[in-house]
Symmetry: D3
Subunit: 209 residues, 6 copies
């Protein structure tokens, strides 16, 4: 074990020559052409293309929602390109909320690592499914449905969420409606929200129009 | 032509015996077991399983949104079960609106048959894409993204929308938030809407909690 | 509404900078590399990439078949690239026919907008399914099967057909057999048609050999 | 080796109890419900569900086309159900022909085991691709395209063809057009063939109407 | 927050009547028919079908490998049925090892929650990729490749592993070779291992033949 | 027939101009970018892109395993790129063995052309399925599972194996473990093999570490 530890303290970085293409995977080349199935494949890869430490640190929760989503999608972690999976880290400070959102391209499984999280989703039949999750509990959110996570405890919460795609996308309802130049009257007509409410939230989120 | 017309005036209803299973298609048996890929296959089919007249009539637009969506998904039109496609009819009276919604399971292509429709969607990057569409124009809405259609003219509008799945699903934002028993305080925390606004729309849409 | 109409009279053409890649869609770059999943993604897109007016005009039916198929596949409408759907317009003059054909890569749903169309397909079990369709009727044609549409009425007919792929392909039987240099004796041996019949149709359709 | 031979002379038929479901495969239960993804899974399987001897014998080529196609699709060989692959045997006597046909649901790879075969296909662009294949040569036929195989030699030919689906389907052009009750006038209008030619082939192939 | 906590302390268990089928998901009915795409869908679901607490407890590592894999695949957690994702918990005591294994049906992403894990995989090109992972590090293992995890530290380790399928399968090399009745001489011939070594490991793992 | 023979003696090499892209297939451009779905498409193709003679010759079985696997995957036969299928040739001399291996990316169907082959696989449930196959017998090996083929007869054996992917991959157990620089102590810990056994096989297969 000690020996293995010594071995593993150093990356195993023997590179693959481009002459022998690896067909088991397709580490994304962020500078190459992108297609419907994802990024082009890097020609030379090492173990470091399959390992990512960007989720190790607590996300910055000093913000409006007292929460942070740190993704390891193919754009951040090209090793998952083409492999049908990705992951992200959720940090929720006390009072933190991941607001109502969808992932247009993937289903999600959440596992609670620390704290208590009130999580739920709404189906196409407008049924509501929510529950308080404790450490070690998992919950699945089917693809494309509105869902949310709320820190329901009195301590910082941590969860990891996995996705059935390397590019799940993330559409946060309030940002989609109020953080761009979608005209207020179109929002009014398509959401039945009052203009005052819309303008108030545009003010908070930096929307215009 | 006249002869063909005569022939075709009557359905060609020779049935397929269950002894020779058809493998090109799988007309849904709405009473059989359902799986992740869709309904079980009917054992005996006729041409009438592949034809549907449910979209021929104008939808009833005497409602809150002055609009109607009439689906021909696999539940209404079992002939598309397993074939990766479905269709629906949109009717928009003057002032009609198909409110902000998503299809969790499919991309959509809209074709305007009559009238003028202001249609748009919002991407995961919170960019807004909308335009006024006239008769014969088509627009594509990528899977799972919030989008809307508004009658932008002074006459009744008609469009057909096709989907890349026999079961695209339909999640209308206001119904998802305000037409069920999702607690008001959870909505507040996850959408930043004011309680008064939430209660007002719950009142309109029949929501509780 | 009037205001929205004004807004929508102008495209919403705010462009997306290539620095923030959109992962919800992949508008085809017709000049970039093409792969099995479709075209490479354009780096900068506007709403005009998602809207197409090429199906608005009646197709030219002054031809042998008195009919026209106007496609909006990914090559004509790159906005559908990678989204699993496309659409086309069918115009049939009186006496017009869309001859026996297949789409090797997609299932099809047809909706009749105007006129009466006698449509049908033949299954792998050699069963025939055809029926006369009126305005508003829809019919589904499973992937890869021979099918046809005939104007069965006394007026111009119009239909829109949607496909479960952005690149369904279109193989018209007569053009496949008689509009190229496939040797007559090979056609004879593989279709049992008489040489005279083959040569006659090659003459009409410009085939050689 | 001898020992292994002895072992293998007998099937290894230890059965799997239904209590421990195997998730690596789904041997088709031909009597259970069928869905878009294929047959239901048999609960108890043995090695004999994964082995099939139905392609060992030469097909009967005493017929019109002097050829035989012997399929091992999921209906004949339920072991391939759900696994995305199947296979068939082609026997062509001297002068034998596999007439123009398509597989609506799969691409095909042919390998010549014996004899010389003239094989080809036609693309959606109406381009013709054909070549004479000798023993050991392979050829691929993309999904859904018209293709054919002709014994181009002076001896019996044998080939195996594999498919990218357990249910590729097989639509033989002449049987689709002339071996059912598709009305002659519809065939005339959709293929431009002369009525006499159609009636002649209906006579040969048993078609009516 | 306190209020939400109170709400969430109790499951939201309003059930969905079977009359309105939910098409966004397909919670597995473990007693219904199974197909290539997974289990049949339960007709009535509650939030408890989407939440699972079976991964909350530390797995029992009092065994040969001083490690435990606790799966939440569709058989244990039917909520993921048909959603293209699943998850499992890895516990490694000091000196614990998840032996060389593959998942025939999925790619895997591992996130280290506690301790230090030496993890690696071998590609089809026989290249080795391994590294020592610390708390918060993630690593991806492409589908079907041999891989392993070793506790490389001096304390208990914990990781969660997500998969790109609800049924990834798990083939542990030693159990596949030595824990069944695969004849020793076949193992010898196909692995080049010495008979003595094979018999020794069969003895440890309960294999026969 | 004679005429067709003459025609087919020569390839039909009319090329497709890059101006009219073929959408039915995507012959791999081995020099272009590669993505998760495979190689980029060649712009100009001829019949020779769809035909391959590389499997016609007997593989060289003068080696350790007295056997040879000759692949026609997309890297050797770019015509299958994107078409979901590929093929390979197996030659087994007397005493020949295709050692225990997996295909991470595809299911396999084997057809015996000559000789007798003892073939088997092991499932995730550690069940063993093996049988002796004679000329014309076929066997299916589900994706990603360990399997083997042994010449169980007294003559040279020949088989063709087809795959449900153009890039199935091939991971031979002994090469994965003993033909690279995977450290002996890691192999020991993850396979429970004795160090002496590991070193012995590394010596045979050229492994280091």
């Amino acid at each position: 074990m000690h020996h293995c530890f010594k071995i593993c303290r150093f990356s195993h970085t023997e590179s693959v020559s481009s002459s022998s293409r690896e067909t088991d995977f397709c580490v994304g080349d962020l500078n190459g052409p992108v297609g419907p199935a994802g990024y082009s494949c890097k020609k030379t890869v090492t173990v470091n293309d399959f390992v990512y430490s960007g989720l190790a640190a607590t996300g910055n929760t000093s913000n409006l929602i007292k929460a942070a989503v740190t993704p390891a999608f193919s754009a951040q972690f090209p090793g998952v390109n083409g492999l049908g999976i990705s992951i992200a880290r959720l940090d929720l400070a006390v009072g933190g909320v991941i607001p109502m959102h969808t992932h247009p391209g993937a289903s999600e499984v959440l596992v609670v690592i620390q704290g208590t999280i009130c999580a739920g989703f709404i189906s196409s039949a407008n049924k509501v499914y929510f529950k308080s999750l404790n450490k070690g509990d998992i919950m699945v959110f089917p693809q494309g449905l509105l869902h949310f996570q709320i820190n329901a405890g009195k301590t910082q919460s941590l969860a990891f969420v996995s996705f059935s795609s390397p590019d799940p996308g993330l559409q946060i309802l309030d940002f989609a409606l109020f953080a761009n130049d979608l005209p207020t009257d179109i929002i009014e007509e398509t959401t039945f929200l009052d203009a005052a409410q819309i303008k108030k939230l545009k003010g908070v989120l930096g929307g215009t129009g």
